[in-house]
């Protein structure tokens, strides 16, 4: 076929593939490449240099940040595993009362705004925290929450739901025959557990661990609020960006590249390990739950419920403080709604902005999720493989990186016409798109391709067939994806902090600023508003998702 006839034959989906690739190239690849290139630019001369990387790996300021990031991310991940794996085993293999309650709380912890945990712990264990004060009454000094171990604690309690939910899903999907066979061949229960069960859930555990690690490396809010001189790469990148304002943010970018490299390396390592371990099996014989007896049963229940309650504690504290009577930043005893009055007075912009940005992003996410998942699932071309791969990129690239990419690429460029609000919407769209695509893709995989083929065969043009046949069938996936996109977009902090200006402040930014100012009442009220939105979306996901737990992963 000649090029001309090829063009004439370009069907609807080829055109859509081109559109998707264009959008991803412009909004995802270009800013990231720009960031990567800036890492090799000399800030003063504008020439090419390796000096930035030399600086990062020789100066103690950066080296410490690197070590600190690695330290809290590794320990946080380890902590999450130590809590998440036993929790998953108990709930998957034994009868635990209030199982739905446990997984619901774990999911709420997962989706709660990430920085809330950090500042709620300050209110409990900080210099003037109520737990600190309570023990000080008796002359007992509680350990401070500031610094590395505070961050590790927050990471552990924030990220364990990933490990828990993934391991649980894997355990529930494991054919009981494997364990039966092991027992039948003479394994003791403990041998069966270590030789059969544990290796079989290893892929799930390691995937959960990688997610924890990547998120911990990229997390900005927690070390920013709890660090107090303990700097991680993400806070270093942010303050470098702030101090380089006006000039080229080369150091901020270089630090970000190191962060990305760490995440990528972790992911590649895990893929390599997993490559030889693919265990697919039909669930012909689903596992059955056993009943634990006596004190073991009590201990198990205490552990399971205790964990999720402690993890939920920050959220409860935040909601509680929002209802405390305040005078300015000071709590004056008793309950009152002053904090809510204040957010209506001082931060109505933040609330409306948050909703406008998140909703606009969700509209884009939903439209593109539908189209992208179709291209990924139904079209077996190099382009669809590339798009599938690109959908992993936003997971791996810290918010700070993309945000700096957006500033350096689009500010002053032709795309600047969309303004800061427009840039924020596009940024949320591209960063949260993978949530929508994941959920829609798994929905679409369950729809037989013959559905669309039948529609086309009966005379419907491809675009029409997609709209009237495919879209109604993948609607649950689209809705769940939209809700997940909304939850994660409205809670976005790190990249907004870099992009926002006077008129485009959002709730998370306002909360962050309020916490820095010690305005805990205001922060509490705003956080409660965020939590209510998030909670409502979670409830809606429960209604629409086929598998309520895995929808959040």
């Amino acid at each position: 076929m000649s090029a001309l006839t090829r063009l004439r034959h370009m069907d609807f989906w080829t055109a859509i593939t081109v559109l998707i690739l264009t959008v991803l190239a412009l909004l995802l690849i270009l800013p990231i490449l720009r960031v990567l290139m800036l890492g090799f630019v000399d800030a003063d001369t504008g020439g090419f240099t390796f000096g930035n990387f030399v600086e990062v790996f020789t100066r103690n300021y950066y080296l410490n940040g690197f070590k600190n990031s690695l330290y809290v991310a590794l320990l946080g991940t380890l902590g999450a595993c130590l809590i998440g794996i036993p929790l998953a085993f108990f709930t998957a293999r034994f009868v635990v009362a209030g199982q739905t309650w446990i997984s619901t709380l774990a999911i709420l912890v997962l989706v709660a705004p990430p920085f809330i945990g950090a500042y709620a712990w300050i209110m409990m264990l900080g210099a003037n925290g109520f737990i600190t004060n309570f023990f000080a009454h008796f002359g007992i000094n509680t350990p401070t929450i500031y610094g590395a171990h505070g961050i590790v604690l927050v990471f552990t309690l924030k990220f364990f739901p990933f490990i828990y939910l993934m391991t649980q899903t894997s355990l529930n999907g494991m054919n009981k025959s494997f364990e039966d066979a092991a027992e039948n061949l003479g394994c003791t229960p403990w041998q069966r557990f270590t030789k059969i069960t544990l290796p079989l859930v290893f892929p799930a555990v390691s995937t959960g661990a990688i997610i924890c690690f990547v998120l911990a490396i990229a997390d900005f809010g927690t070390p920013a609020i709890l660090g107090r001189g303990f700097r991680t790469l993400s806070t270093i990148a942010f303050s470098a960006y702030r101090s380089e304002l006006g000039g080229l943010p080369t150091m901020a970018v270089t630090v970000s590249i190191v962060m990305m490299a760490m995440s990528m390396l972790a992911l590649l390592a895990q893929r390599r390990i997993l490559a030889k371990r693919r265990y697919a099996s039909a669930l012909t014989n689903p596992p059955r739950k056993q009943r634990m007896q006596g004190w073991r049963n009590v201990a198990m229940h205490l552990f399971c419920h205790g964990i999720v309650l402690i993890a939920m504690l920050p959220t409860l504290v935040v909601v509680y403080t929002s209802f405390l009577k305040t005078n300015g930043p000071v709590f004056i005893g008793g309950f009152g709604l002053e904090s809510y009055e204040r957010i209506l007075r001082t931060a109505p912009d933040a609330i409306t902005n948050s909703f406008i940005f998140a909703l606009s992003a969700v509209v884009l996410i939903t439209i593109f999720s539908g189209l992208i998942s179709y291209v990924i699932v139904r079209r077996d071309t190099a382009a669809s493989g590339a798009i599938d791969f690109l959908m992993m990129v936003p997971y791996l690239v810290p918010g700070v990186v993309i945000a700096i990419g957006y500033v350096t690429t689009f500010r002053g460029g032709p795309l600047d016409v969309v303004g800061t609000a427009g840039l924020l919407i596009l940024l949320y769209f591209i960063r949260r798109l993978p949530y929508g695509v994941r959920s829609t893709t798994s929905s679409l995989r369950q729809i037989k391709p013959s559905m669309e083929e039948a529609a086309v065969n009966l005379g419907a043009p491809p675009a029409h067939a997609f709209l009237i046949i495919t879209v109604p069938l993948i609607l649950p996936g689209l809705i769940v994806g939209a809700l997940m996109g909304f939850i994660t977009a409205i809670n976005e902090l790190s990249s907004t902090l870099i992009l926002y200006d006077g008129g485009t402040i959002t709730m998370p930014v306002q909360i962050y600023l309020a916490v820095l100012d010690g305005e805990f009442g205001l922060a509490g009220a705003l956080s409660t508003v965020l939590l209510i939105c998030t909670g409502a979306c979670v409830y809606a996901v429960f209604r629409f998702a086929e598998n309520r737990d895995s929808a959040f992963l």
Partner: protein
């Protein structure tokens, strides 16, 4: 009603030749079946006609007009799918009306045609049901109704009965054939079930490895298979080694001279259908003129309306025979000597190399 002409069609998946120079011609109104094992290219060919795959080269023409440039939704060839592909969010009526709506047929005509076709497939009483309320057989009737209601030029069916249970399959088979005859609609039918193919078709086209092995009416396919593949794939066959010298050809088993039966030079093998082999207890005299091969019983299975006898000739060749149950034979212990009798006319010969083409 329309005829289909396919010339030199070729389709590659990477380096794998899925269709290799397919040339065939389907007369108007014929029931044309593509038969072959999985991976033989039959479904690929059907889907290429439907426009779901683009061929690498070659032409498809309907009524003499090439359809190569038409996208799938403009080809006017309606397909019935193996997995029914009934739209789960539309009622039976809306499913059937789907193609008519795409063709912008007016409402009143849609209503009459849908009602009509639902009667034809005996689903009139279920018009307002949703697909999940229907059985597999009913869903496939919806699939059929949906395809024929648009009065396509060609009806394509991709193993439409293979997901149904055996009894239903046989019933629906007859019904499909009846409807196809009544409408006189040119039909291309894909199946791997030889019985289905033989029972329904005007022409059976046996495919293997992306190549057409033989396209002929069912009786010809069965009685005069074009090569060894067709001979084994459609019905079973026993193959017997033939030893040839310049002047004489004999069966290796039994040593019967068969020189006058072979009209070709070169190495050949003999073949016969299991039902053409008669098993006689030792000592019984065989009918006049039959080829006699002495053998021993290896195994006998009695499966109800017939018995299957697996025997080994004295020369070591394995032969399967099928016949009506004979208590005297079924009772024979292993290793009992028997006589196998074959009428010379029932022997056919294939070249003993390459494609194994039939020797006329």
């Amino acid at each position: 009603m329309a005829s289909v002409e396919i010339t030199g069609l070729r389709k590659l998946y990477g380096n794998v030749m899925a269709l290799s120079d397919i040339t065939l011609s389907i007369p108007s109104g014929a029931f044309y079946t593509l038969l072959g094992p999985s991976g033989c290219g039959k479904t690929t060919l059907l889907r290429t006609i439907a426009g779901f795959h683009a061929q690498n080269s070659g032409q498809i023409a309907i009524d003499g007009a090439s359809i190569e440039d038409l996208p799938a939704h403009k080809r006017d060839v309606a397909m019935v799918f193996q997995d029914y592909a009934v739209f789960p969010h539309l009622s039976v009526r809306d499913n059937v009306a789907f193609g008519l709506k795409q063709r912008k047929v007016n409402r009143t005509e849609i209503d009459t045609r849908v009602t009509e076709v639902l009667e034809v497939v005996q689903l009139g009483h279920l018009a307002d049901r949703m697909p999940h309320e229907l059985s597999g057989g009913q869903q496939q009737r919806v699939g059929l109704a949906r395809a024929i209601v648009v009065r396509p030029k060609v009806l394509l069916m991709d193993e439409p009965l293979s997901n149904l249970d055996a009894k239903l399959r046989v019933d629906l088979r007859a019904e499909l054939r009846r409807i196809q005859r009544d409408l006189g609609i040119t039909t291309v039918y894909v199946t791997h079930d030889q019985e289905e193919a033989l029972a329904m078709s005007d022409i059976v086209c046996v495919m293997h490895g992306g190549i057409i092995q033989q396209a002929a009416p069912p009786l010809d396919i069965y009685l005069r298979p074009a090569n060894r593949f067709v001979a084994t794939f459609v019905g079973a066959n026993n193959f017997l080694a033939v030893s040839r010298t310049a002047a004489k050809a004999t069966l290796v088993s039994g040593g019967a001279e068969i020189t006058p039966l072979i009209r070709d030079d070169g190495p050949v093998v003999g073949a016969m259908r299991p039902e053409d082999v008669r098993v006689l207890a030792a000592g019984t005299t065989a009918p006049e003129g039959d080829i006699i091969v002495s053998a021993r019983i290896r195994e006998i299975s009695f499966i109800g309306r017939e018995m299957e006898i697996f025997a080994q000739t004295d020369a070591g060749e394995h032969i399967k025979a099928v016949s009506r149950p004979d208590p005297a034979i079924v009772a024979l212990p292993e290793n009992s000597p028997v006589t196998l009798a074959i009428r010379p006319d029932d022997l056919s010969f294939f070249v003993d190399s390459g494609d194994g083409v039939r020797v006329p």
